[in-house]
Symmetry: C2
Subunit: 393 residues, 2 copies
Amino acid sequence: MTAARSAVVAEEIVRARAYLLRAAEPPAPATRKLADLLGPVGAAQAVRRGDVAEDVAAETSARCGADRVDADLAAAAACGARLLVPEDPDWPQWPFACFALTDRKDLAPPLALWVRGPGPLADLTDRAVAMVGARAATGYGTHTAAELAAGLAAAEQTVVSGAAIGIDGAAHRGALAAGGPTIAVLACGLDRAYPTSHAGLIERIARQGLVVSEYPPGAVPARHRFLVRNRLIAALSAGTVVVEAALRSGAQRTASDARELGTVLMAVPGPVTSAASAGCHELIRQGALLVTRAEEITEATGRLGVELAQEPVREGRDTDALDEVQARVHDALPPRAARDIAWLAVEAGLGPDVVRSALNELERRGLAEFHEGRWQRSGKGRRQAQERSARRR
Amino acid sequence: MTAARSAVVAEEIVRARAYLLRAAEPPAPATRKLADLLGPVGAAQAVRRGDVAEDVAAETSARCGADRVDADLAAAAACGARLLVPEDPDWPQWPFACFALTDRKDLAPPLALWVRGPGPLADLTDRAVAMVGARAATGYGTHTAAELAAGLAAAEQTVVSGAAIGIDGAAHRGALAAGGPTIAVLACGLDRAYPTSHAGLIERIARQGLVVSEYPPGAVPARHRFLVRNRLIAALSAGTVVVEAALRSGAQRTASDARELGTVLMAVPGPVTSAASAGCHELIRQGALLVTRAEEITEATGRLGVELAQEPVREGRDTDALDEVQARVHDALPPRAARDIAWLAVEAGLGPDVVRSALNELERRGLAEFHEGRWQRSGKGRRQAQERSARRR
C-alpha cells in the first residue's frame, strides 16, 4: 500500500503510525513521546485499548475508537501519496533535530508525514529555506518573493512554504520557474488542494518537489491547523525568510517558531508606508536579519564560509583612490582655470611642498595637467567635477 | 561686531578663534589641541609667528600670513551671522563631548562655529536628531523624510541636516512645516546659499532655527568639505537617521561618523528593488537600528525610559482571546450547521468534557449558540469565519 521508497519499513510500523496520526490531533507531544517509548506498534496498541496515561488520553480519547488505517492508506495511494515515518531513511532526521531545542509543547515533532511527490524529503531538506508571508501581499511582495525563491533555487536550495495565496504561492512559483524543487506543507489532507485556486500549483509542486502534511486524507484546513502546520515549515528549513507580513499574521507565528527552534530568522524590508511590510520591520527591529538578495540568505543559512555573499558592486570614480591631501588639492584646482602652486597652497590650506607632491601624483593619474607654470584639471578630472556638481545641485 | 549673545566672551578670544578657523582648514586636530593648551589667544599668536610644532605648521603654514579677521567678522555680521566659540555658554558642550570617544584625527571638534539664526545652539541640540540621505532621493524617500522630521518636531526634537537637495531638504522642510526648529550645517561660508536652489529654504531655517558652518564667509563648498562637515551633523545629534542612501554615498560617511562618535545610528528601510535604499539596508545589516516612525527614533535617542515607542495598534478579533482548546472547538463548529457534542469531540480531537466546557465559554463570549441539543456558531462567529475564509482564498 505504501510506495516503494518506504518498503524498507515494516508494514505494521507504517500502519501503527497512520493510526496514531489520525487518533491524535497534531501537535500531540504526549502521544509522540509514548511512540518513542514503546515504539509505534506498542503505542498504537496501548491507545487502542485506552490503556494510557492521562496526557495521552487527553490527546487520543475522542478518536481512538475509529480505525481508519486501511481507508487512509488507500485514499493516500489514490492521490499518489504515501506515509513517511521516522523509521524511514528519507525521514528528515537532521532538520527535525531542532525540535529538541525547545520545551514548548506545541512545538512537538510530527508522528509521521503524508508526502506526495518524487522528492526524497531528507535530501530536499539538506539545503532548504522557508519563505512565508502575507496572503494579502502587494505586487512588490510577490515580485520580491518570486525573485528571491528563483535565486535560492539557482543556488540549489529547496524553497519550503505553505502553498497559500500571496507570498507562499509566489515563493513556490519562483522556485519552480528556476527549475528548483520546492516543498509545500499543507494544513489539510493531501487529497485536497487548498486553497482551491492553487490546485494547479500544488499539482506542479507534487511533480517537481514534494507536498507534505501531517493531516490524513479528508482532513479539512481548520484555522488552528494552519498555526500547527507552520512549525513544520520552520523545522524543515535551515532558516525562515518573511516576505511581507502585517503586524498580526500567521507569518509572524512561523517566525516565532523559527526563532524558538533555533533556525535563522530573516525578513525582507519594504516601504515604511506599506502595512504589508510592518511585520517584517518589527521582526528586524527584534533581531531578525534583514535580507535583500538570495546570496544574503544562503550566506546566513548555508555551510559556514562556503557561501559568503559577494559584496555588491560599487560604481567607482578615479578620484576615489586619492588620499585626503590629494583630494583636497584636486578640489582646490578650479574646474576651468589654471593656478600656480602658491595659490593652490592657500586654497587647499596645505604647504607648497605638500601641494607640489600631490599635484605630481594627480598628473600621474591623469587628473591634473601642468602648462606654463600653472596647474589645471585634466579633461577627465573636469568632467568628473561637472558630474559631481550636477549631482549636488 | 559679534551678536549680543556672545557678548559674555572677550572680544580677543572671538578674534583669535576667527583667525585660527581660517588659518587651519578643518578638521585641524593639532591646531585645536594647541588652542586647548595655550588658550585661543596664545595659540593664534604662536600660529601667526610660525612658532609651532610641525603638526600645527602642516595645518596652518599656507594661510597663517593672511589676517582676515576684521573682514570675516564684518562679512558675517552683514549676513546676520556671528562666531560662536567654545567659551560661550551657547556652545554645544555636551553633544560635542562625543568627540572624546574617538581617536580618529579627522573627527576633531571644531575650533569655533559660524552661526546664523535665533536658535541658541546648546538648547537646540539638547534633544536633536540628524537626518541625512541621498541627493538623488526618490519620492518615497523625500515623503518619508518629511513625515519623520515632522513627527520629530512634534516630539520637540531638533532636526539636524545638511541642506542638500533630496533627503536633507525634505527633512528640514518637514521640521519647519511642523513648526519645529531645525539646524542646517553647511560646507561653505554662511554668506553663500548652497545649493543655490535651496536659498529660500536656508533663509527660512535661519529665521526659525540655525544655520551653522565651520567655514568663514566666502568659503566655497569643495568636495572634501562636505565629508568634513558631515561629522558636525553627527556630533550635534543624539542619533543619526539615514533615509535612502546608495551603496556609496556621503550619507554613509555621516553614518560611519555617527557610529565612531558613539551616537545612535538608525536607517529607514525601503523596497529591496530600490538602489536608493540599498545603503540603508546595508547599514541595518551591519547593526544600524531599523526605524519606521518618529516614536521609534525618539525611543532610541530620547531620555531613557521617558520616550518609549507605543506598540503599534493591532486590529483584534474576538477569537484572538481564546485559548488553544477553545479555538479548536470553535474551528470544529461548522459555519452553517449545528452539531452535538459527540460529533464536535471527534472533529476537534478532544474529550467530550473538554469540548463541553469550551462550548460554555464560547457561548459566554457570544461565539457559539445552543439550540435543541446542538451547538452552532453565533452570528458574530459566523461572520468572522467568513471573513477569514475570504482572506485565505
